[in-house]
Amino acid sequence: MAITTPPQSKPATIGWDGQTLHAMLTESEQRFEKTGHYHGVERLTMQAEDPIRYEKIFSRLRGGMVNARETALNISASPIVKEIGELCFALYTPEGDSITLSTGIMVHVHTMSDAIKYIIRNDFEDNPGIAPGDIFCNNDSFVGDVHNADVQNIIPLFWEGELIGWAAGVTHVLDVGSHHVSGMPIGPIDRFEDGFILSSQKIGSEDRVWRDYELRSETAVRMPWYWRLDEKTRITGCQMIRESVHRVIEQEGIDTYKHFIREVIEEGRRSFEARVRQMTIPGTYRSPSFMDVTFAGETQLPAAAAKNSLMHAPMQIEISTEGGFSLSFEGASAWGLHSFNAAPSAMQGALWVLLTQTLVPNDKVNDGAYFGTQLHLPWGSWCNPDNPNASTTISWVFLIPSFVGLFRSLSQAYTARGYLEEVVAGYPGTWNMTQGGGTDHYGRPAAFTNFEHSCVGTSAGMVRDGEAACAAMWNPEGDMGDVETWETLEPLLYLSRRIRPSTAGMGRQRGGSGWEALRMVWKTADLVLYNLGEGHVFHGNGLFGGYPGCTGYRLNVERNNLKELIETGRPIPHADNDPEDSEILRLLDGVVVRDNRCTHLATPVGQYDVYVSLLRGGHGVGDVLEREPAAVAADVGEGLLLERFAKRVYGVVLNDTPEGPQADEQATHARREEIRAQRRERAIPVPQWLARTRERVVDKDFIEPVAEMYRSSMSLSEDWAREFRDYWELPDDYEI
């Protein structure tokens, strides 16, 4: 693509009015600190005086982002980009604040902002220089990213010798060259094992990627052709954005553009505050969450890392009467020798992408929402490691569960305000993540992540059930991708994809169902597979009495008789369906690996081995006994609920009819009374329960991962330790 900026001599500085970029960033931050308004913009004059022109400029810039994304998506070769839409583009101010963005993995709108600010703060303007046509690349989470599988390209935008902004794009790549072979490596314990990492590195000039970088990247990853094509995809999108911005400036004038980009971010900040006041209640909200890591016994790890542990994310949100919104993880457990730590940029990005799905779900979102929020991440915790060499290749494993409380807390607020249509009981974990690597079915080196985990069930709302197999918290446009595409990428054939009963949390409104995929290893003698997900703890929670969606389990049947079943035309399994009556175990003979160890390192597999991937269901809302009996009957009829739970938990007695299961009204009424009587019989007053549980706390009667979690949170946070001791009336010297 041609350079559209006319050649010009390089001025001494590239900032506005003779300033350096560093000076511009410092000034902008000082103005915000002093006035509380983005860049000190106290009046939205353009929006007030010429609203049509203002909206037109925004729409044209926003259209440029969406156009870039859709074009890039359709020219991409990577199935993760093409099938799932794991890409996003955004436009930034010279200081690196986002003005507008495309759809897609919007979590990166703020991470790319951090990557640009890294360029500015480290004076790249002086060395290696920033000029029209330059290309930068970043996938360093401590600079500005979630993990190194998300690779960003950033290009500076110039107009008449001044830098007027940045265009940036991100895609999720297939492999990052870690020796732990999988798309998002599980197993690294520090940065030196994470694979290929670029820290906002300059990789090209005059719109050409430098040859030395190209050659280096070809030897850094397992599938260089995808790396190269992904890079072309991102750069093309950025260049399209550059053209669209130049068109706007040509028509509106540079002064108007400069004014607009400040004002629109301040408008975003004010809109966010106004929305907080309109939709929520001032006060304090708490919603802790947890995630298990099951590395005990891993022979591929050093002893200090080969242990089970439990992540603690004690989310607390404060909403002030001024519309201030602050979120804290004070009390979070420490970072660890695993690849699930998260850098602050990832956390900020996660907050941002979730807010765009609930509190500010409109197209006019930008870094205004970032300036409207405060995020506290305790130093030394898993979400702000005090070790810059901590591994972060798959930060999502902690990040996804940690933010589930945001939806729950906001839903509490929406319920209080009456906006029941917005209530949702969080989201399920977006797993199992099927990952693997080795030699693919074409005989080539391969590492992969199957992104069908983009489609888990959604959680229930206050007045509606969740939906099955349709969304991921990190990509609002979830798509599971075509079977045929994944089979091209991975040496695994699909035996089936099926909606899975009793994966969703039960409740008056039930969660949306998860599903399962059965895979068979195909045409490779060198393959390892991983599971990734929660197995011992619920990742989230139901709301107002609803049950959380299921945890997971792993099921592999190795060295089995599937080949023989196929050759002799006998039935083969198409689902596990119910662990208490497994179709797979009924039909297959072989070595069965079946447990709750859902996060583990590379496991070698062989031809015809069967691998089950269980995708999670959403959480429920409300008391199960308040669900309409006919809705329970329909759930059983549609294969969303195992029949035994209809009577046992929902108290709905079903009759088989030619039209399917029907609820027996009288018998249901009697069964529900029975359940209420059972509740009365089994429940105890909370003070009695507290006295009993305190004894357990005093005795420190916990398994090691739980004990270590408490130790870790108490040692990192004096406040959390004091609250814990005060709660259980423990002496000051109590330690676990």
Binding site: Q278, I281, P282, G283, T284, Y285, R286, F290, L310, T321, R408, Q412, T415, A416, R417, L420, E421, E422, V463, R464, S502, T503, M506, G535, H536, V537, G540, N541, L543, F544, G545, Y547, P548, C550, T551, G552, P579, E580, R594, N596, G622, V624, E626, F645, R648, V649, R679, R680, R682, I684, P685, V686, P687, W689, T693, V697, D701, F702, V706, E723
Partner: protein, 162 residues
């Protein structure tokens, strides 16, 4: 700015609003008068006279008693006491802390391991309605999920006295 009829808000509260209308409501700007219409609809649906000050869920409300005290109250009429105190402390509880109890509500292998995490079910002491479930590790303090700033909400945001 959309406005909704009393009937629409009542249908929403009762969970009877047809999906197309609910979908439009989700996509539209929010109506500023929702809180008042919502509380009025709820007030008609509770079997007691106390004024609803802030709904907490479908079965829990902060109400003003005739003596002026602000307390948390269940749909069935149980008084949990001062709204600033965690209502769970006056509830009744059942903890699913064994594999057998976990497997009552989840298929085998699909619930939590009670050594790592239990389910705490909080019921209304009058109706035994299930009000909240906590999924936390053993020994975790009972979570006070919501402490509203009622004064601030009424005075600063609604512009009226509590």
């Amino acid at each position: 700015m959309p406005e909704y009829t009393k009937d629409t808000i009542e249908q929403l509260v009762d969970g009877r609003l047809p999906w197309p209308e609910l979908r439009r409501m989700m996509s539209s700007f929010k109506d500023d008068g929702r809180f008042e219409a919502y509380v009025a609809a709820l007030q008609q649906r509770v079997p007691w006279e106390d004024r609803i000050v802030l709904p907490l869920s479908d079965n829990l409300f902060i109400v003003q008693r005739p003596d002026g005290e602000l307390v948390t109250k269940s749909q069935a009429g149980f008084d949990f006491g001062d709204y600033r105190r965690n209502w769970k402390l006056n509830a009744v509880i059942f903890e699913r802390d064994t594999p057998e109890l976990m497997n009552e509500v989840y298929p085998e292998l699909m619930g939590a391991d009670p050594h790592w995490m239990t389910l705490r079910e909080y019921y209304c002491p009058l109706s035994y309605t299930l009000l909240e479930i906590e999924a936390v590790p053993p020994g975790y303090p009972i979570v006070h999920t919501f402490e509203p700033d009622l004064e601030g909400f009424y005075r600063e945001w609604l512009g009226k006295a509590l």
